[in-house]
Symmetry: C2
DNA sequence: CCCTATATTGGACAGTGTCCATTGACGGAG
DNA sequence: CTCCGTCAATGGACACTGTCCAATATAGGG
């Protein structure tokens, strides 16, 4: 079990949330996770969801994305990659990591996040006019 | 006057906030702007500050940064550039735009934001232990 | 100097995240 | 299998950010 290997107790909230996130490629907000759990008959308080998501992310079992507009999102992919954010439907899609040439930085960089903002192919080109 | 050139009424809140932001290279959160204005004897409600900041950013008179952890920040620089974010002191520093090779995207990209996360030179290397 | 379109105001509200004391349960020891 | 210490979940309160709205004020053209 991944949780135990990471030195964490395999509690029900942790197992359920980890499994849910690892099920696909969706980028979950905490609230989405909570709503989905509720539909699966496992209602949890917001504090528990946030707590678990933070623990899983800190342990490296899931990825956290906090370089987008809006609330933090959590995903299955933990390897280095970048994100496309649709300004229309607010969905997040993983994209291949671009090779960034080094630039002068005012400190030590621990990670680099590239965010592409635009409109995804599923969304019309212009904002909703109606 | 920049405001009039942009087709906007030159109201006191707008002039004061625009001047304050253009004074330096700081990346202001809305709350920082409000507090600073209060110290200058121009207290404004939060809604007004947010309103003005949004208008100035939409008009292209200031830059908005919403690809960082935490609240949106506003800056004088409107040309294309990137940001270094210190995870310790949460300060934001502009860095030169890196040349990003094109990658396959799931939609049309309107802008690209690169965020370097680390510790700035002014901060000790490790998090505060005391 | 008026008048009107536009902006500000201030209050309420929703969403997100954090903190804390209390309760509960995981899982090792026996 | 049972017990129990330790760690995690709980749920309530709270702070912060951002948005919305009706009412008021003002910029600036005529």
């Amino acid at each position: 079990m991944a949780l135990r290997s990471a030195g964490m107790r395999a509690t029900l909230p942790r197992r359920a949330i980890l499994e849910m996130i690892q099920e696909g490629e969706h980028h979950w907000s905490a609230e989405e996770v909570r709503q989905n759990l509720t539909e699966r008959n496992l209602p949890l308080p917001r504090s528990s969801v946030n707590n678990v998501l933070g623990s899983l992310a800190s342990a490296g079992l899931i990825g956290r994305v906090d370089t987008l507009p809006g609330p933090a999102r959590f995903e299955a992919e933990t390897a280095q990659h970048d994100h496309f954010w649709c300004a229309r439907c607010r969905s997040v899609i993983n994209v291949q990591r671009a090779d960034v040439p080094p630039v002068a930085l005012p400190g030590s960089s621990e990670r680099v996040a590239i965010t592409y903002v635009g409109h995804c192919n599923g969304c019309p080109a212009s904002p909703p006019t109606a």
